[in-house]
Symmetry: C2
Subunit: 257 residues, 2 copies
DNA sequence: TAAGTATGTTAGGCAAGTCTAATAAATACT
DNA sequence: AGTATTTATTAGACTTGCCTAACATACTTA
């Protein structure tokens, strides 16, 4: 009668790894899990049994491992936390990929949904607001030391003026392009800001459930060979859309980072 | 022959708690440690023994617990990580005190010095750069939604213009005040930006060791009754300065958050 | 100063998570 | 098809970190 409601860090790791392996290689073999997690094979077996007991994976000895619906939900939550933390470290804090990944692995067990959401919002804000923007963020170590070194803060003034002209430019250009682009038109790696959700089908519900509002950032992760389905990332969530669905989401393109 | 080099999360927690208790109440009693950490008394004894084995605390049965120099160094590192993470969540992410504290408790074991340092730099940058600033950060959930809702981005433009005039104002006022203030003049809670380190004594070395440069943020945490010593926070480190030492650090006052 | 109470320690047990060594099943290769 | 090899599992041991119960020491105060 081992009825543990909370998932230990260790089990979260296993669940995450299983999810990612299934994504990547279609099946999650015990061997691969052990390798990724740097543990012995028997440890994996033990974890699998524990996860099965909690009804998060379908497991039987020597059989294939799959996630139950509940397990998938849980795994996605962990994966999202990991991704958000890593993204934040890489894009905002300018930490190297490898270190960000390793740190995210350890941090992902510690943060609540609330903190993750704030992190996403903040990162979006920083990358979106013309007063900040990706360039500003990446220069944070340099530009403002310069400003501090110069008490008259000339450089800050210049910097802000530059920003102001950027906004004006964007404003002019913006009015032309905004109406035309939809999510379907973006290429992998491109990012956009949501303008409107046309057609109120289940898609609208699905992404509205994630707290997506007008102005939220969306990134196209992958587009399948025939343009269908389209893999997107919104607010740290991954989502798969059919081509027609993506066509119903009006976005304005965002400049590459 | 238990020679473990790395400190477990659990032991880090004990070390941190001991350090804080000594700070607050002069002595760390087993009872209080147990209460803070929500563990039983025997668990504390066990942890104390483990820490003593690692030469981080001076411990003998029924005796007072003190930190060894090595233990103090380690404890300070943990405390700093905790403080930096919490500060970031509270000040930048606008997370509530309680949740930020609890989350920091769990995250503090996961982040490397590098990440902590970047976090500090970024938070300082955000709070210092006139293009961002505390007000901007706190409004991040609101101001830019407004901007996004309005494709012509009028509000952003206004916002930036406001920022520009702020800089001009600060520039005028700044030239008068900068020269006069030193760290000794700040009251608890006030923050300033380091202008110069006058006199090259050991203090200069001590704080220069922490990566403090011209422009770094400094916050006065506590001033003892007679103005000596002064407790300050720099780059997430806590430091105690004598009055004369503080007088040798020229700062420009920063507006309250 | 001699109970009586608060505080700290030892002993012993339990759960989680890991390991190695040995065994069983599945897959691959003549 | 039958052996070889790879892959997965069981068994058993160890560590960490926690607990409760019982015992030991230190402090308090009548």
């Amino acid at each position: 009668m081992t009825r543990t409601e909370t998932l230990s860090e260790s089990l979260e790791d296993y669940l995450e790894t299983i999810f990612l392996l299934i994504r990547e290689k279609a099946v999650a073999r015990s061997r691969d899990i052990a390798e990724r997690l740097k543990v012995s094979r028997p440890s994996v077996t033990g974890a699998l049994q524990a996860l099965a007991e909690r009804a998060l994976v379908n497991y039987e000895p020597y059989g294939h491992v799959t996630l139950t619906p509940a397990g998938e939900v849980e795994a996605k939550r962990v994966v999202r936390r990991h991704g958000v933390l890593k993204d934040f470290m890489v894009k905002v804090l300018s930490i190297g990929e490898a270190e960000a990944d390793a740190t995210a692995c350890r941090m992902e067990h510690a943060v609540s949904k609330n903190v993750v959401d704030r992190l996403v919002e903040f990162a979006e804000f920083v990358e979106t607001c013309p007063r900040a923007g990706a360039k500003w963020v990446h220069g944070f170590g340099y530009r403002c030391q310069e400003a501090a070194a110069d008490p008259s803060q000339q450089s800050c003034e210049r910097c802000i003026e530059q920003c102001l002209t950027d906004v004006k430019k964007r404003k002019q250009k913006g009015n032309k392009t905004i109406a035309s682009a939809t999510l379907k038109d973006l290429k992998p790696g491109e990012r956009g800001q949501i303008e409107r959700l046309l057609g109120g089908g289940p898609v609208k519900r699905r992404i509205a459930d994630m707290g997506v509002i007008k102005g939220s950032l969306v990134e196209v992760v992958r587009v399948a060979p025939l343009g269908d389905p389209i893999d997107i990332k919104i607010k740290g969530y991954h989502l798969s859309l059919r081509k027609e669905e993506a066509a119903g989401i009006a976005v304005s393109r965002l400049p590459e980072k």
